[in-house]
Subunit: 223 residues, 2 copies
DNA sequence: GTCTATAGATGGATAGAC
DNA sequence: GTCTATCCATCTATAGAC
């Protein structure tokens, strides 16, 4: 990418670091996009380095392995997404004296991934990457998903507090249903729905979709 | 598997055919189980033939390729599943003079896959296979999913007829949400929910889960 | 740190004897 | 139809020169 830098870069460490970081970033961007579009196993390290315009060996040099690269991207993105969700939940708690209504809790869970899917190219890719990694990822990714229940815990607790008369077991199941709704928002599923509805559904209208999802989930939760 | 058959099988075609069919069946069974548990790309033809106790070449001989084998299993299982769903919908229509209520339509959609997941080992495997193939399958599988909207059409039409005052667009989206709930019923997700709820949720109780899902979906639909 | 060349392993598919 | 042996493509990972 940035081959010609300075006439004499040997004694200059700052461009070295810049270049290092630039290579890493290029690999991350290319890998995320390719994984998101084609899936993890269908993409080779060669595909990634070719698209990034860097050397074949850089993936192993910077990340250790292809698996570790996937893991690193997944870790970053999910952390980012869950931070947004946690912030929204926190804000809702502030607004409602620590006891937000079901609708606000569900919105905190649903809104970030949905906005990502509808925002700029970068975040749409990021969201599709997360969904694909969840479905097709390595055993390490699956292990993280299985184990990382801590960020869901707050949502579960909030939901249970918002519906104290509902058996907790029921709240957990309904949370599971809502997560299913969220994770089903994939390109292929949208295409299918588009075909089924004869073009009536438009997933690009994020605001409308968001309202629909929250309405549906809230009704299910208040049943 | 069945090596020693008859002392002289050369002039006997029936055992030949039996053996042929037995080999095919053994490959189908082994492939379905391995794909369901480990995913399509993680399983090699060698793994399949080893588990089936047949020769390495039989996959290509009987099915043409590994991709074609996956496709064949997927085709059979989805046809089987969708037949059950269509039958339930049909029965509901008979019971309600052609206009079944939302709940009966949703039950026809949800009950077959859920009962499979909770019934015998064979059907549990079959259901996990379908879900995995949907997520990780080949392009051919994805193409089928994308194109095969015919069996969903009846459900969409029935739902629209059951809620004539609801804009069809809305009905399509809600159908999409329900499908998301259904396809999220994977081993890994159950495990996660189990951990989150501290063992409170038990997916083995199919009847209870079925009621919960239909309750949730119905409430969302009637909102 | 980059890059080329290559090791080392695996997998899908097939030819050819039986 | 079965089965062994093997071809050939592909991939990850790394050694070693620069």
């Amino acid at each position: 990418m940035t081959d010609a830098l300075s006439p004499d870069a040997a004694d200059d460490t700052v461009p070295e670091l810049d270049r290092d970081a630039a290579t890493k970033a290029a690999v991350l961007t290319a890998a995320e996009r390719l994984f998101a579009v084609h899936g993890f196993r269908a993409v080779s390290v060669r595909d990634i380095t070719a698209e990034a315009g860097v050397n074949l060996a850089s993936v192993n040099y910077h990340f250790g392995s292809k698996d570790a690269l996937l893991f690193e991207i997944f870790r970053r993105r999910t952390a980012e997404l869950n931070r947004e969700r946690a912030r929204m939940l926190h804000e809702a708690e502030d607004r409602h004296a620590g006891r937000p209504p079901v609708r606000a809790i569900l919105a905190a869970l649903i809104e970030p991934p949905l906005r990502w899917a509808g925002r700029g190219e970068r975040q749409r890719i990021a969201m599709q990457f997360i969904i694909r990694a969840r479905n097709e990822g390595t055993e390490a990714v699956r292990e993280v998903i299985r184990g990382d229940v801590s960020h869901l815990r707050r949502f579960a607790d909030a939901l249970i507090a918002a519906r104290p008369e509902l058996p907790p077991e029921e709240a957990y199941w309904r949370l599971h249903f809502v997560l299913g709704m969220i994770h089903n928002n994939r390109f292929a599923e949208f295409d299918r729905l588009h075909a089924l509805s004869d073009g009536l559904t438009r997933e690009s209208d994020v605001e409308a979709l968001l309202k629909r999802m929250v309405d549906f989930a809230e009704a299910g939760f208040l049943a």
